[in-house]
Symmetry: C2
Subunit: 430 residues, 2 copies
Amino acid sequence: MIESKSKNAAPETVAGNGLLHRRIFLTRGAALLGAGSLGLLTPTLAVAQVAPEMPVLAKVPGAALSGYGNRSVFEEGIKRYNIRTYPGTTGSGGSWTPLESLEGIITPSALHFERHHSGIPDINPDVHRLLIHGLVDRPLIFSMDALSRYPMVSRIQFIECSGNSRVGTAPKPVQMTAGGLHGLFSCSEWTGVPLSILLEEAGVDPKAGWLLAEGADSAAMARSVPMAKAMDDALIALYQNGERLRPSNGYPMRLFLPGYEGNMSVKWLRRIKVTSGPTMTRDETAEYTDTRPDGSSLMFTFPMEVKSVITAPSFGRNLQGAGLYEISGMAWSGAGKIARVDVSVDGGQTWGQAALSEPVLSKAVTRFRVAWQWNGGPAVIMSRAVDDSGAVQPNRAQFLAARGLKRNYHYNAIQSWKVAANGEVSNVYA
Amino acid sequence: MIESKSKNAAPETVAGNGLLHRRIFLTRGAALLGAGSLGLLTPTLAVAQVAPEMPVLAKVPGAALSGYGNRSVFEEGIKRYNIRTYPGTTGSGGSWTPLESLEGIITPSALHFERHHSGIPDINPDVHRLLIHGLVDRPLIFSMDALSRYPMVSRIQFIECSGNSRVGTAPKPVQMTAGGLHGLFSCSEWTGVPLSILLEEAGVDPKAGWLLAEGADSAAMARSVPMAKAMDDALIALYQNGERLRPSNGYPMRLFLPGYEGNMSVKWLRRIKVTSGPTMTRDETAEYTDTRPDGSSLMFTFPMEVKSVITAPSFGRNLQGAGLYEISGMAWSGAGKIARVDVSVDGGQTWGQAALSEPVLSKAVTRFRVAWQWNGGPAVIMSRAVDDSGAVQPNRAQFLAARGLKRNYHYNAIQSWKVAANGEVSNVYA
């Protein structure tokens, strides 16, 4: 391999330490960058200026067709992280999406994070029923066939466990991948029946203010949901990424509450009881409450706040020498759309705007990208998301000052990665 | 199960035989439909007005967490169709996506259609290289690592084999599912490097008008691509639906030409040669040309035209008695966005507009939905897509009159389904 020696006009920088203007990602190609483009890319990349030497061509026919395909044997190392079942439980545990191995905004269903309270039932859809009862004019029971005749909607939206990223409160930064730190978080295309239609069918009593949603797993995981959310954008989800839900995501049906803490999107949904107030279930009193500095707890803090994480570079995705790199990451907010993502490559002293990949959808992952001309020196990179409600992702010091160290949920502080001179990336508090 | 007897105001119809206004799919729920909503839904659906009887709750803990998940055992019957390898070849064959089992716009990668010319190689990404040569200033070779440092873009877009739906030219309608008839067609989120950037890197000679793209499969499948397309929206795709490409979709890299016939999006891409004219490969002369009524052939008819298919109801998805149903389907165009989908439930005499599910993206599947109050009599249902270039999907008679019966590619005529009084759905020419 011979690196090209050509070097043309310098690219346009927007912040300190080599952060480039996002224009490079907003145009169709380098052509629109003008004469600087070749100088920007060529010297930095391991491309070879060589005589045409043919890459390998297969000499024998490949594998046969199949009914339901799988990935390459060379990709089998990409797995969910931190797989654990808590001792002394009947199957309470979790697994984390390897965010740093993904691109775009869709999480493959096989890599969607998991958080279960009593293992994963695989329920026969022919026997499963959904009951709607409580403060309604007419209690109703829906089979899968009945539900399938209702109007459906599809939306690409994220789901995030409220305990995601809590490792960020540890006194020293834990050295893990982006997925290991922040991967209780995934984004899918969900299709289902708006819950509002079913509630209208049942006829909601004017005294009703909440509902109880309960799963058919042996833990009977249950949460209280405000009626306003149920009537807004809640779905009874039947499909994920085109096909039926996976068992680990609530097959054959789950509640889906866009933007709310994941635990409330009750899987294997079997019952919705319309109530006047919250039911105060074990799952919302013993867990999923936010401990305040004085030891008291905040309940019912539902929306997941604005957040982002850089996935490339990140721990385990080290840099190979000075030059041009794409910084790429995910941003999201339970309040709506991502309005802007700022990136810093000098530890937060100066910031430049990243390009947002279309489509930018409400309560979905937004992929952001920006170019960085790394000079080979130590650097700290960070991203800061802003949503269309105006909320700004806090840095760690701001987050802890406001909420205290005892907080186990809703951690959304800025993730900082340190790039060492040898290209190694580590998790730092900055 | 007891069906409710309540019946309120009649819903608003927009075309003959019970086609309802799309408004029902444009609002958040039945609440916004007013008093008619309950009358619309309740009498038609198998919901029961019963005393609260609990649906089944699991009595034992479920399965354990896993690194890479799978679907429910109850879904294992959902497979690709028509799986075949042509006799006398080294592995030329195809398989069809079961479109009628999907919802939303994303096709799960495990169900993406296949069309291979010499089986499916599983290429080691560490040894694979992409060569760009021919009429360029500097021939370049890219490793996967080198490519991964270039700016990437993500787009949700379809890919369709140009031979898709050719069974529609058969003298009598073939009785198959929507996927069996039209499933050489899928839609994914693709992420990759714009080809224009790599061509700019290599420096394209002003005399260049085309390029040759060649795969690393043992057939060395190769097609000619106009330079204008290469510089417009062509990608070197590395990711599909969040993860790396599947081997059946060209792992570790494929060309992706949005809206163009699928065969041109060369899989297992190993070589791009910049040329002055088309190379006239075997794959674009012996195949993938359009035979005209006089026996001559049209070459280089690249864009896939505007098209749609109703997936529910469809062959194999029969109706269960008179009442309300959701008609749901997919529309797409290689020219751009879907502007409108009209639906008829009286064999094309009258038409009403379907609701288009967001997001409506260029060269992507657009999911359309409309409500139908079926009176239990025989009916013929059809959908007609219109794209934002103004192109209108033709009916079968119009298509054949214009293009002749010998045409093997680019069949995009309207699909008609007949619903019999007993609810059975069949493929008809109407």
